[in-house]
Subunit: 302 residues, 2 copies
């Protein structure tokens, strides 16, 4: 079953201790779409400028990614520039040129409205709500957000969350959203706002998922060469929700396998700049890394 | 089979956001001994002052903890005072009164010398070496250390590490010891110094173990009420090595179960001040938490 993603398609300029990439393909919806497309058809809703052409679209071609919802408008494409610390654990935003993204009003093509899975990328919660008005009867709505909206539009965000099944945030965002430092208490408070499933991304420390069945902890894959963390969280979301959308049921066992699939995809994403590693990734490689996660975490009972 | 522990027995004064405990039982060897004693007999080597009497020893009585090596000498017992931040993630040392611990020279009773498992707590690496001269033919030597010795006595520490089978450190210590930021590279560099098994403790983010069989990742148990983290690392070490010493073999499957046992013990330790929770803990409670770790981490294959 297909999944709708609404988010950003952008140019990134990224500097890490290992090199610099200028104006390469980035944006939450780009990483999400390519990651999800390994498992399920994707319908993309985003906006780009006149400087975004067929060369950039090549990343999405030849994959089950529907581009009917990718609006091209007068102006320049969203551009983000960031620089990572020597340990990759901190990054400074050098500049954010919203450009055409500043006036983004997601408009779903008629052909998208019967979609069964929805991922609301990290945009204004009012726009997220507006997207939900445009889909007919989704089986599962997932959502991302950030401190900017948690602090800036708390009421709109709460209205969105009341209609969300799965929320994906990082640990700092979970704490800010709930007002609770303890992550178990934070999870309980957030789930009371609507999302029955909460996925807390902790970067190199892995993922914690809270659902009706309890909690699930998955590590990040211990990698020797982390090259560029940009997009890892969106790639995780794409792998997680893409796998979920491709599965016959959304029960706990499937949710857990989806977390591992998302973690596997993210572990590839950070091996190169932009979507470079994802674009040459194969499904057998993903499945092999899934099995390595099993090896990494397995222990016998007593 | 019994395990020898050399380390500190101390008074701790601890302030957390939830309260303050004055001059309660602490010290690495105290937490270690009680944790390990759930699995195997312990032989304790430490020093206390005249202010440490039968009331304090009560914690060790009624358990398989041999106190013949607990020296009592003129002066006061080691006293540490610390204060935790509101989120328990940082602590400031208010004062460290080494007292009798400043002149600690571990002397093993004759009856200890045939011990098969050794844990060298976090003391001067020259003293750790001295302890190894006093044991006959240990099957397994494990060791803890800290930034003070990594920076201050690097040569002595390297000599100790060349005779160590298992090193337990936290992630910052692993990075400092190896000079590598990436944890996989750090692990390879440290294992080249001697320890075939490296256990990296990451506090609330769990544990990474590197051994001949590869890497193993275990989460910390997501607790709703963390009261006082003091001693959690030493409690982990006690559970880990105590379980290992009690097992017929030291293969990878046993090492992994030992990591979970250590994590289970540590998750109880932080529920109360000092050794309070450990002292009323039962083996069935430990085994039940082990099973909860299984539930927390299990996922099906693809």
């Amino acid at each position: 079953m297909s999944i709708l993603v609404v988010g950003s398609v952008a140019y990134d300029t990224v500097e890490t201790p290992f090199g610099k990439a200028e104006r390469v393909l980035g944006g939450s919806a780009s990483f999400f779409s390519v990651a999800a497309s390994f498992f399920t058809p994707v319908r993309l809703v985003a906006v780009v400028g006149e400087d975004f052409g067929e060369a950039q679209l090549a990343a999405f071609r030849g994959r089950p990614i529907d581009l009917d919802g990718l609006e091209r408008t007068t102006g320049k494409t969203f551009h983000w520039q960031g620089k990572y610390s020597y340990d990759l654990n901190h990054r400074d935003t050098v500049c954010t040129d919203l450009n055409v993204f500043e006036f983004f009003k997601p408009r779903l093509p008629q052909s998208y409205r019967d979609v069964e899975h929805v991922f609301l990328g990290n945009i204004d919660p009012e726009l997220q709500l507006d997207v939900l008005q445009q889909v007919e009867r989704p089986r599962l709505v997932a959502c991302d957000t950030m401190n900017f909206w948690i602090g800036g539009k708390p009421e709109a965000l709460r209205r969105t969350l009341s209609r969300v099944d799965v929320l994906l945030v990082n640990d700092a965002e979970a704490r800010e959203l709930s007002g609770e430092w303890n992550i178990v208490k934070a999870a309980r408070a957030i789930r009371a706002l609507g999302p029955r499933t909460l996925v807390i991304k902790k970067g190199e420390h892995g993922v914690l998922m809270f659902s009706d069945a309890g909690s699930f902890a998955a590590p990040a894959y211990p990698l020797e060469d982390v090259f560029d963390p940009t997009g890892a969280g969106d790639t995780f979301a794409g792998g997680f929700l893409g796998y979920l959308a491709s599965s016959a049921d959304g029960g706990e066992a499937t949710l857990r396998k989806a977390v591992i699939m998302g973690s596997a995809l993210a572990s590839f994403c950070v091996e190169a700049f932009s979507l470079d590693r994802l674009l040459r990734l194969t499904r057998p490689e993903i499945d092999e890394r899934f099995r390595l996660f099993k090896k990494l975490t397995h222990f016998e009972g007593i």
